[in-house]
Amino acid sequence: AAAMSVNADLRRERAAATFQPELLTHILDGGPERTRRRKEIEALVLNDPDFQHEDLNFLSRSQRYEQAIRKSSLMVMKLREYGIADPEEIYWFKSFVHRGRPEPLDLHLGMFLPTLLTQATPEQQDRFFMPAWNLEIIGTYAQTEMGHGTHLRGLETTATYDPSTQEFILNSPTVTSIKWWPGGLGKTSNHAIVLAQLYTQGQCKGLHAFIVPIRQLGTHEPLPGITVGDIGPKFGYDEMDNGYLKMDNFRIPRENMLMKYAQVEPDGTYVKPVSDKLTYGTMVFIRSLIVGDSARSLSRACTIAIRYSAVRHQSELKPGEPEPQILDYQTQQYKLFPLLATAYAFHFVGAYIKDTYHRISGDISKGDLSELPELHALTAGLKAFTSWTANAGIEECRMACGGHGYSRCSGIPDIYVTFTPSCTYEGENTVMMLQTARFLMKSYTQVTSGQQVTGMVSYLNDLSRQRIQPQHVAARTVTVRINDPTSLVEAYKSRAARLVESAAKNLQAELNHRKSKEDAWNRTSVDLVRASEAHCHYVIVKLFTAKLAEVSDAAVHAVLTNLCLLYALFGISRNAGDFLQAGILTSAQITQVNQHVKELLAVIRPNAVALVDSFDFHDVHLGSVLGRYDGNVYENMFEWAKKSPLNKTQVHESFHKHLKPMQAKL
């Protein structure tokens, strides 16, 4: 298979591209130097025989876990051997080793160690950090319980301080309080940072973090008082031992509470932490990773679907002519190109949040938290918006590959099942949208009371100026030029303003009818989610448009401008009702928008393959027979299938066990 040349269709597609894909790759990576380094690290992993293994699709769950843990331990050693320490470079290395999949040490490296660094006292760091760094201690982060996830205050695990022995007694008082889902908890970890309600001197002091040993060092057997195990099979995450943890009067020394901020003194006196806004920083960072992950997962799915659509020929467009590439059908372009544009949009949004976070993290450490609330609110919504969109988009890509998309060899099922939990973890998406909405409502109230707001919500300031005319904000006619991204940003801005205002008014109306604030909020929450979505959508269009100005190469600029236009116009087409209802666009303009979307499909068509090539996914990382760079799809599907476990023997044993006896009897 390796000796095969590149499929003629793909060769033709690449030759016809109007721009150089490498230049676009550099933009996505953040400069040619970053691209070079990424490829260098990629080569380190891909050329390393230690990281080779059988196709994971043919392995059982236990076998996949085993492969993952084998690779993870090698990975930790090699990272140190190569001296790779930059977080982004570690991320690349890890994602090449595990091919974009989760791995059992994820929480040890991503949560346990960082939490020790940020929340442990120097004394605690002395005790735990080096053993954890050297993997004598493997830890996880046990927050979610069977009964509670995103709503943290509802967690039920208790840690009761006993001053007589200077210990905390940990308990899982109900079935619902059993820790459930933490990665690496089931089989891998021997320690966990456990989040529990702290009780001291008879009072509940809320959630605090405790370092809890759960397995005996040496034998790895669960400690007395600890019940721990794997939560069973899931949609994806086969290589991860998501676990459960039940504690029964399990005692840990006082010094095991993470006490950099809050403290419990030997006599049980509780000392409050200084500020709780600091945790915002971590959340912003993790959400920026999810936005980036939305972009990457959708890019992978687009790469597969678009290359396959250039290779597959089907039916006829013109009577008597050979079967056309399915990418030439308008319906196929309409499924895939808006997603391609979305993937690019999300890349730029992810980069923006990361940059903003790095820019202000200096301020954060200096104690200036002024920009943090807005960023926190914005990233909640963007996390939800991008993960929802990518989730649906990956499925559309799979469906666009027809029957073969359904085979595991397409790689898209795996992308989907690995990605889809991000709609839930790190904050359930609907709850995230409502967090953003809370910020929007607060900003709206500020504006109506005469204050100015800044940042991404500053368009709300226009509302007060509008107040002279008692109409919808957006009822003023904006002359929207549908060929101009800047003008489209304005249209999105008007839509967001209109939906924020409408949600705020509905909320006020509910408040006037009812007494409870919570009830009014709940009865407006569908509107509030819509407002948040519109706000996020505006931010994304704005950021994509702003990115265009930074692109110097004319050819790349042209192709990105078309993608940006497609992204903005497709969004209008899909949400035409919002723009019509607010009077931002007329029916005639919507018809023009719909028409222009279709024209853009044809314009983007010649660059489609080059645009996915620019994402620069290596075949090993892509893990897809349909999306191979060389396009030799059918031959390799056959080769792949021959390795299936059902094909291990020519006659399956069930023939002798069941079929033959039945045939003999009848």
Partner: protein, 658 residues
Amino acid sequence: GVNPDLASERQTASFSVEKLTALLDGGTEQTRIRRAVVEAIESDPVFSRENQYFQTQNERYEAAVKKAVHLQKKMHEMGWTENGPEYKYIYRALSGDVAFLLHRVFMRSISVLGSDKQIAKWIPLATQHKLIGSYAQTELGHGTYLQGLETTAVFDTATQEFILNTPKISAMKWWPGDMGRSATHTVVFAQLYIHGKCYGIHPFIVQIRSLQDHSLCPGITAGDIGPKMNFEHIDNGYLLLKNVRIPRENMLSKFCEVRPDGTYVRQGSQKINYFTMTTVRISLISDEVLTPLMKACTIAIRYSVVRRQSKLKPGEQEAKILDYQTQQEKLLPQLATAYAFHFINDYLQELFNRGYREIQRKNFDMLPELHALSSGFKAVITQHCTAGVEICLRACGGHGYSLLSGLPSLYTKILASCIYEGENTILLLQTARFLIKCFMAASAGQPVPPSVTYLAAVKHGKCPAKNKLDFLRADIYTEAYQHVAVRLTSSTAAKLQDLIQSGVKKHDAWNQCTVQLVQAAKAHCHYIAVKNFAETVEKLETKAGIQRIMKHLCDLFALHGIFSNTGAFLHDGYTSAAQMDMVTASYLDLLAVIRKDAVPLVDAFDFTDKSLNSALGSSDGQVYQRLYEWAQKSPTNQMSPAYERYLKPLLHNTLSKL
């Protein structure tokens, strides 16, 4: 005992659950028979599905074969026959988790496409399971577009045989169920060549495995196509033919025959055959598409009244998540969709039965309409139901992601229905072709079939609703749907004509309009579904509160469709901006109303716990206990070979030596 949070939901039902179940089944007698079948199947341990989430592909396959064999015995024992009233409930009771489903397709294709002589020869053999059949149509390179298939069957007059070949890799048969490991015979679709001339696609019976030792026959390469998103129990297979010779009698020849001298003869009308293919699309809706959505709704809604999260009122207990408007807005429209499509399925079944009677009387007038309806509704129903199951899955948060919730496997199974029996986009374009044709005919004053007569009545009025309550009137919203369907069809027809008149070639014009054509076809089906739901509600008996709750669901189904697609209704000003606010208000009000009956409405689907096979959806609501106990049975908790092999060296400090 039953979780009090779930029990309390049942005490306030506004209607009789048992009566609604009977309505869904089509009568109390049907309910009784169905329950008896379910009971017989579920009490038999061989049919248990409890461990399926823990099993490998090989284990699932073996269990499915075992069940298929055992089913023969069971049917004999129970006195069930293929023509009896119990038969249609067996598959539902097994949740489709059984092998040899293609064996039936094999038999049906012989009955439909074979000559009397062929039927007499093959059907008894198949009935007695002397052979196991499959159906090999799809190839690696071609699916829905049948004319593109590349397998060849060349007639050799000298030996009176057909020589079958897979001339290139893309011509390999790929996907047929039961073919990878089980089948001994299959119906192969191939391009027929006689004396160098191609006569198009024809069906041939080909033996692929020995009846003695199950080894592959000479010239045959076959195997399993490898892991998929679901259907682990089915050995979807590949088949490569190399100079495989079969006797002339093995070409199914009801409609076309090859004489010994190579003369090709066409006989009879293919239209009945065509009708049968169309029927298959409708026949899969109930078991393969509606049942999974109904199960998913049952699981997600029951779980949403058991799960409590965060507080709605300070100082009170945490609220059931179904009390959150956003959760209602996710789940209740899916529930309404399940009911809407249940009734449209009844409507289609009836229409097809009528069509069948007409066709037997040699009246083929209904065929184009039936074809358009079956294509369009197959696409629309599978798409909506698939999306609905996924919404249910995600509405269950983290626990929905566990296989033990039952939701991931419902999802991965139902989504295959969007592809098999015709890819949805292509089917919608077929419906659109029919719509455009009918629209042109209607505009020219010619008669058109009943389901599209509305296209002739193009009106340019405005929606007459004056307040939000007006949008709870079926005539108001049905008319709005009709208006959108007419507008989309007529504007697309006009655009097609414009393009053609401006010199664009017909096929290019068609391709340039396909995005709009798809929208028109969807709007047409949506309109008919709303109209049919409203008419069904009208006819329901008013007793026992059933009509009232069905009316609410019908309103919700209709308003949800408008709410999710406001642009289509606002376009051209049929609905005003103010009216759209009324729609939203009525829609959100309905959520709170239906919320009260949500659990009784899923109880009425009458799924047993065994058939749901879900820790989250069981009828007693003991979610957490069940999840905990079930997880402990996972094989991953019984052994951990990775510890000795990898973890131990890791923990014992290989790293600190660095």
